[in-house]
Each structure stands twice: as C-alpha cells, then as structure tokens.
C-alpha cells in the first residue's frame, strides 16, 4: 500500500510516521510537500504531528490553508482514508474535516507521557483489527489536546459512533483521573460521519517497536492496511 505523509512547515513527526510505515510496517511510504497538488498515487494520507507554523495563532490554523489541503479534502471526499495524528488532528478540525475543536490542556501544560485509550468503535478503517473496548497504551505529546464540541455536535457524534477512542485507566475504565488533558468525555480520537477520516491525539507511530517501550500502535496501521486490502472488521486473527 502507498502511504503519503504530508510535510507542513513545522511538521516534526513526519519522519516518525514515515519510519513506522516503511521500516516497521514494510509499506510504501512517501513524503508529500505541503505545496503538492497531486495525491492520485496514494492509498492513505497521514497528517503527522508536530508544530505546524509554530502552533502560532492556534494549532493547525495556518497549515489548514496549505495548498495540499484542498487535495486532502478531495481525497477524503472520495472516501479514501485520512489519518491526522496530534497536530494533524488539529489541522483536520481546523479544516472542518472533523467536528469540534481543541483547547489548551486543562493543566495549562504540555504533556508527554504514556496514556491508555479504549477503542470505542472497531468498525473504522483505522481500528478494524481491534477488539471493541480493547485498551491500547500509547504516548501523547501535546499542549492543546483538550477536545471540545458543543452538545448538539456531541450528541450527533455519539449517534454516529464517531468517537473512536477515549482515554481510560489501564483496566479500561473511563475515569476523570485517566483523562490527561481535560477532553470532553475523555475523547482521544474521532472520525467523520463516513468513518474514513480519523483524528487522534495519541501517537501510534511512537509505539511500534519494543525498544520504544511498546507496540500497541501497530494495530492502527495494520488496520488501515487490512482495510485497504479489502478486509473488514473481525480480521483479528491475521495479527
């Protein structure tokens, strides 16, 4: 499969996504400069983490106007999978591809740590190899990951199963204590109504090798590959 990792000015985790996809997952991966205008050859687009435009004004607010974003929107509208991680999640909300917005972490600090998240919807292209309710251990590294949406939007999202991940305790309980940043209802990742665009604050590319302290991120990438190959949920045994 061919993955495109977008490089915005200020992207940092582009190389990490690239390595995870190529060296660990053995996929075809390529960087896409933010001025690129053709995404035809790609099967999946990754908006990586980092600090696009320094995070100035608001995270993702300026990158969202990069030339490549119009193509990303078309790509998404055509139903192909797009995943935004951390700052990439910001770009997706700013671009209106995902509902809601992000506030400053409630403790006002940047947080880099391992957290636990629970898979709330295992029917997406990004989670189809996860069990429903499966708990994953994953790093976060952000200052503005406090997810917000107004109550109408939230209700709609719940109805459509658009909340894909929630922060939880190691045992899978959704508690305030296990919520690192104050996100509304512990939301850690959401998808669009169609399910082909995912944004998540936890960073799967940071946990794909034992030497990095864990491999729970692999299932996310594996799910995408599975989806692209035409597989669907329930393909768990292939892991």
């Amino acid at each position: 499969m061919r993955f495109g990792v977008v490089v915005f000015p200020g992207s940092n985790c582009d190389i990490d996504c690239y390595h995870a996809l190529r060296d660990v997952m053995g996929q075809d991966a390529e960087y896409i400069w933010h001025r690129a205008t053709n995404l035809d050859s790609f099967d999946c687009i990754v908006l990586p983490g980092g600090s696009t435009y320094g995070g100035y004004l608001r995270c993702g607010a300026i990158a969202r106007f990069s030339p490549v974003m119009e193509r990303v929107m078309e790509f998404a509208q055509s139903g192909k999978p797009v995943i935004g991680i951390s700052d990439g999640f910001h770009v997706l909300t700013e671009a209106g591809l995902l509902p809601g917005a992000m506030l400053r972490n409630r403790n006002m600090k940047f947080i880099c740590d391992n957290v636990y998240i629970k898979v709330e919807n295992s029917g997406t292209p990004f989670t189809n190899l996860c069990g429903d309710g499966q708990v994953l251990k994953m790093p976060i590294a952000h200052g503005d990951g406090n997810y917000y949406a107004d109550s109408d939007t939230l209700r709609e999202m719940e109805e459509n199963k658009q909340v894909v991940f929630r922060y939880c305790s190691p045992e899978g309980h959704i508690t305030d204590e296990s919520n690192p940043n104050g996100s509304l209802q512990n939301i850690a990742g959401v998808c669009n109504r169609e399910g082909n665009v995912l944004g998540m604050m936890p960073q799967p590319e940071r946990c794909v090798e034992e030497i990095l302290g864990g491999r729970d991120g692999i299932v996310i990438f594996q799910s995408i590959i599975n989806y692209l190959k035409g597989g669907t949920a329930g393909g768990k045994e292939t892991l």
């Binding site: 000015p9 983490g49 600090s51 320094g54 947080i111 880099c112 790093p139 590319e205 090798e209």
Partner: protein, 733 residues
C-alpha cells in the same frame, strides 16, 4: 566625571591602547564598539583561557575539540556525535520563558552549523529553594520556555538535572545542551575561505533586539535607537525549524564553504571568527542586511543579537541555488559581502567604508589575564564537622521519606513530562533513569547522555567537587551500558575579578581535568559563564558536566529499574560512612558543611570498567549509581522504577545513618539473576572490584536491616507517592 568612550564599551585603558597599537590609529566609534563586544569576557574568554588550558582536549576519538561551534567525537561506522552546552543564566533571570527558550535556540544552531542533525537536548538548571512565589515562577517559566522551544522544533529533550539551593535565588542557572549526529564526511566548520566567495545572511531579519544591554560610546545614536533597543529577544522555534531543515538541505549541495550561527555579538563575531579561522578577510555592507526596523545604524546591525540567523559562506556563483533552497523553506537570504584575502574585516554602509579592522584582532587577539586567586576563608572553616555531635535520627523511615520529598532528590517528572522526550522515535531510555539513551538508526548502537554537577560539593571543595561531577556523569553512562567518550562543560561561577571566586574556578577546572584524564573523557566543547552573583552572594561554583557515551549494542541498554523478583542485589564498590556535603546533612540536620566524599579516581575507574564489563557479558539486569541521598535512596529509586520491593542487609557499621544516607563515591548497585550470581562475583573479583551481595528483589516493600536490626520498612507505594509527588505538590500548593 564623564566616562571615557572605551570605558563605556567595557574596555580598559590598556585594552584601548592595544587597539590603537593594532590599528596604528585611533578606532572610530563603530570599531571601538566591535572591540568592546568581542573583547568582552563573554566572547573572548580573556579571564578563563589560561585556566582552560588544563583540560585534556584530545583523544583517539576526538574529531573536533574546543574552538569550533561544537565538539565532535567519533562513534564508529563513519558516524560521529556533535555536542555542546551553553548557559543562558542572565536572560533567564530577567525573562525566564524567553531567556530559556532562546538558550535552547542558540545551542541547537551551534550543532546544525557543523552540518549535524540535532537529535537530543538536555538541560541543567539551578534555582533558589521553592519556598517563595518568585522562585516558583522562575522555575515554572524556565521549564515552559525550554519545552516551548524544544517541543516545537521537534528535538527530544531527554535529560538533565534540577537542583534547588538558596545560593541560586537571585541568579538561577539555565544551561542547555544539544547533541547531534553526523557522518564524518559531512562535517562542516565555521570557516571563511576562497577569495571572492559570497557571504550570505539567512533566516530572520535583523532588529534592535539583544543590544539593549550593551553600552555605547556613541554620541551619534539617534533617539529612535535608544528608545527601541531591547536587551531581550523572543525566540521563534518555527523559524529555527525551517532554518535547520534548509541548512541541512543546503549542506547536501556541497556549495557551502563555511557556516556560523549569529549568537553573542551577532554579525561581528560571526564575520570576524569565520574570517579569522580561514585566515582570510571579509568585506560586507550593512545596508544589505535585511532589517526588521527602520533607522538602524551600522553598529546596531553589527552587534544585534536577533535570533534565528546564520552566516553562510557560499561558493561564488552558487548564490541563486542557495536562495532557492531557503525560499523553498519560506526563508529570506541575502548576499551581504564577500571573502577577501587581506585579513581585514571591512564594513561598509551603502558602499562607503565605515569601519576596517583586522578580523583576527577581534576574534583572537583580546588580551589574556592571569587573575589573582586566593583560597577563601570559608574553605577551611566549613571542613569542620562534628560528626559525634550529629544526633542519630530515631526514625529512619522518616528520614528516607524526607529525602525522597526533597526537591533535589524527588522525581523530576513534573519537569520532563512537559518536554517531548520521544519525538524522532529514537529515545530508548526516557528521562527518569541514570542517563538517557538514544538509538542510532541503521546501526545496532546507541548513545547515552547525561549532565551532572553537585554545586554543594563544588562549594565545599571545588577541586574534588569538580572531579566528582565528571565521575558521576561517567558512572551514570556506565550504568546505562555505555562507555563514556567525551565531555562538554558549562562553568558557572561568580565574578572572576574576585580572587576567591577565581580560586574556585581554578580548583574546579583542575579537578575536572584530572578526572577527565583518569576516565578517558576529553573535553571537546564548553562554555564559561561568570558574574553569576547578586548583591549578596555568588552562586555555588557550578561546573556542569555534559557527557556522551557509546553503547555498542542496543542489547546492552540497562536501566535503574529492578526487573524481576528473586534477582540478587549486588553492590559494586565499597560502602563508607561519609557525611560531609550530603543531602542528608542538609535536609535532616540543616548543615551544608564537612569534607566532601573522597574520590579515588583509580577505584572509580575500576568500578566503572567492571560494571560495563558485566553489562556487556549480559550479567546485569539493572544498574544504578549511588549519589544524592546515598544507598538507601538509590535502592528506593530502583524499587520505584521497577514497581518491586527489595530486602537488603548491611553488616559491620559504625553509624547506620551515614552508611545508608552518606554519599560515598564509586558505588553502583546492580541486580543479577540468581543463576548467574557466581559468574558476576567471579568477574568482579578478577577485575579487582569488591562485590557484595546485599539482598534480593522481592515483594512490595523496601526492607533494610543493618547488623541484624531492621532500620527501614516501607511499601514501594508509599515511597513512590512521596518521590513522584513532591515537586508537583510544591508547585501546586
């Protein structure tokens, strides 16, 4: 009385005369200012140079020693590590967020100027005690500043240290260290050569920032200038990230002759140093320097310290190619002059020469001073410590908890949780163990990194304290499975014009040097920061040691955490009962005095070599060095990190408080599988290192007995709650 013009730029009468001799005439205003900044202690090291010659600076693996933007040490496979540490103490005291942030920015530029990809940041920090709002504010904002900059440019901040002591109250220390990776073939130097080659300035526009502090001899300064000068800058990590990527891309073209970042003394030092190193001259026009502000006069352009700028010497005819690369990254670049062969730094404004001096005279010919030094009165007085008079604590559990709660020993998680320490996905050991470990992609190797310095030891005995800083740094690396390779140092001291301070400085450098020789770790780069004092007092002499080590095989990576119940705990080295200078003495008895722990460098080396050998033989499951808080704290930390308890027994002791909490050097706690214990003891014996079985990893509690008597018994949970929560609790309370 009106001060003389040379006094206003900080020069003495003799120094002025020297300039007149060099030029064969009186300098004009601009020229005088150039000498003023370049011959300052900060740029010229005129007070410290003779002392720094004590450092060992060469070795098999040293590819670049002191004198360049950063030092370089070989790690095999055609790869090398580039590293440097630098202070940003004074700016951080005034504007902690921006002061710390721009400190990080500056050190990162030093690394990629050499052609290296920065892969890790560390920071060494000192503040007053956290008992007042001002200090808490400084601490909080410095951390935010480091995080704000480092996180944004995507270089992981993987380690460092923080200590609190009243001596730093008015004068916090903020030292930032950066480490880069490079292929030998790609090493670039800050050299200007090749007559006719172009001199370009790239990155941010030049403004009046960073020059408010400098004093001016000039009567011609207009009001616009006076009003708008600011001593501080605001860091722009986004610009730096672009600059970093653009410069690394540019190096690949082969068009770069030399590169230098614009740091202290801005364009003045960048032009004169590159020309001087290349044995060439330079002819530049300040009118060509892109500016952010109107009405700037030549001297302002020459000494502005606006951030995120680089000077690039480019092969003639390749300017457009260079421009294209910077444009791609959304950055400005401009040709401001060319390299000449007359050895002169010629400065023009719109073509007209406004200043012309020998480049080398600015960069290298500052006078050198051999300062007076004198042993301070306190030195002998404080050695006195009435150990008999120290009351034996009744409750050892309480002592251990107090130590774990001391911000100097407590977990620094509150700090490093704010740093992105994982970006670039190479951090194999994250902050919280003895040293950070970064794997080297494409090889089976890794490097280990640490910074260390116990300021209290260095105050009580600068010589031994300095040596211990090196020894502890090396020990931390060894505990991680690395062979120590090289040192970068940041020497933070008071006013060198005071003989007592200068004595501390000399002693410390001598101690550092001796230890560096003994442990085979040459000094490849460093930085001196003097005048760290307020009206009342100087800071403790604080010679911070940054060290890199090489792990030949990632399988050797070792951490301090206890791994499995049943493993045997062995002490390499020998226990002592030393009290002087310990955190125990400070926290429990309120004393900062006594003789610092003895350091026998031979023994230290043996213990370290032994530990590394054992690790390489696959015998060691965890390793942790004993430092502040002694062996009891070391045991507690290994328990906490591993989430497992331990049962330990000591024998043959006079004072159990000093045995458990004293800070005797050259000790490492290792654990080994029961089945391999004999192998371990045998190897240690062959290497002539005492190895004592202390006990086992077991249960959920730390149980320590001395000569059959139970001294400490606490649940790991309780240890952890205190140790992990202490700093956060203070900062929120």
């Amino acid at each position: 009385m009106e001060r003389k013009p040379y006094e206003k730029v900080g020069l003495t009468r003799e120094e002025y005369q020297r300039i007149v001799d060099i030029l064969g005439r009186e300098p004009n205003e601009l020229e005088l200012n150039l000498y003023g900044v370049m011959w300052s202690e900060h740029c010229s090291y005129k007070n410290s140079k003779p002392v720094l010659r004590m450092f060992p600076t060469s070795g098999e693996r040293v590819l670049q020693g002191p004198g360049e933007n950063a030092g370089i040490v070989d790690i095999g496979d055609g790869l090398a590590v580039v590293m440097k540490i630098e202070s940003h103490n004074h700016p951080s005291a005034v504007e902690p967020y921006q002061g710390a942030a721009t400190g990080v920015g500056g050190i990162v530029r030093d690394i990629f100027t050499m052609g290296a990809r920065p892969v890790a940041l560390l920071n060494s920090l000192r503040f007053g005690e956290l008992d007042n709002e001002r200090t808490k504010y400084l601490f909080e904002k410095v951390i935010e500043g480091i995080a704000g900059y480092g996180n944004s440019i995507g270089i992981p901040t993987v380690g460092g240290e923080v200590y609190f002591n009243d001596c730093y109250r008015g004068n916090p220390l903020v030292n930032a260290m950066c480490v880069g990776l490079i292929r030998h073939d790609d090493i670039k130097r800050g050299t200007a050569a090749g007559v006719g080659n172009s001199v370009m300035i790239v990155g941010a526009f030049t403004g009046r920032d960073g020059i408010g502090g400098a004093s001016f001899a000039s009567a011609e300064l207009n009001e616009e200038s006076e009003e708008n000068r600011s001593p501080m800058q605001v860091g722009d990590p986004f610009m730096e990230k672009l600059l970093l990527e653009a410069c690394l891309e540019l190096f690949k073209t082969g068009y770069v002759v030399g590169m230098q970042d614009l740091g202290a003394a801005g364009l003045t030092s960048a032009t004169s140093e590159t020309a001087s190193r290349g044995g060439s001259g330079m002819d530049i026009d300040v009118a060509l320097v892109p500016r952010r502000e109107t009405g700037m006069i030549p001297v302002e352009v020459m000494i502005s310290e606006s951030q995120e700028r680089m000077l690039v010497i480019v092969e003639k005819g390749k300017e457009q190619e260079v421009r294209d690369i910077f444009e791609k990254w959304g950055l400005h670049s401009a040709v401001i002059g060319r390299v000449t062969d007359d050895g002169m730094l010629t400065i023009r404004e719109n073509g007209e020469v406004v200043g012309r001096v020998p480049a080398k005279s600015l960069a290298e010919d500052a006078p050198v001073y051999h300062r007076d030094y004198k042993e301070p009165a306190y030195y002998k007085q404080l050695k006195d410590l009435d150990i008999e008079g120290l009351e034996m604590p009744a409750d050892f559990n309480g002592v251990l908890i107090s130590l774990l709660n001391s911000p100097n020993i407590a977990s620094k998680e509150w700090v490093y949780r704010q740093y992105d320490h994982m970006v670039r996905t190479c951090t194999a050991v994250v902050p919280g163990s003895d040293a950070a470990v970064i794997r080297i992609r494409g090889t089976g190797k890794a490097i280990a990194l640490t910074t260390d310095c116990n300021g209290r030891y260095c105050y009580l005995d600068p010589g031994v304290g300095g040596a211990i800083a090196v020894a502890e740094a090396a020990r931390n690396l060894v505990c991680s499975g690395a062979k120590p390779l090289a040192v970068t140092d940041c020497l933070n001291f008071g006013n060198p014009e005071k003989p007592e301070v200068f004595w501390q400085f000399r002693q410390a450098v001598s101690g550092l040097s001796e230890a560096c020789r003994a442990l085979g770790t040459p000094v490849i780069s460093g930085n001196v920061s003097f005048y760290n004092e307020t009206d009342t007092d100087a800071v403790f002499p604080t010679p911070v040691v940054g060290m890199v080590g090489l792990i030949e095989d990632t399988a050797h990576i070792t951490t301090q955490a206890f791994k499995d119940r049943g493993d045997v705990i062995v002490l390499l080295g020998e226990n002592g009962e030393e009290a002087g200078g310990s955190e125990y003495l400070k926290v429990i008895h309120g004393l900062e005095r006594g003789s610092v722990p003895v350091l026998d460098l031979d023994r230290e080396k043996k213990v370290q070599d032994c530990c590394l050998e054992l690790i390489r033989n696959g015998l060691v499951k965890s390793a942790h060095d004993c430092s502040e808080g002694g062996i009891a704290v070391a045991l507690a930390e290994s328990c906490i990190s591993g989430g497992k308890g331990a049962r330990v027994e000591f024998e043959g002791c006079k004072r159990s408080d000093l045995l458990l909490f004293g800070e005797t050097q050259s000790r490492i706690l290792v654990t080994v599988e029961q089945g391999r214990l004999e192998d371990l003891l045998e190897t240690a014996g062959q290497l002539g290192v005492p190895a004592t079985v202390l006990g086992r990893v077991e249960g959920e509690r730390l149980e320590i007995a001395v000569d059959g008597q139970r001294m400490i018994g606490l649940s790991v949970k309780e240890l952890e709650t205190n140790w992990r929560g202490a700093v956060e609790c203070i900062m929120q309370g």
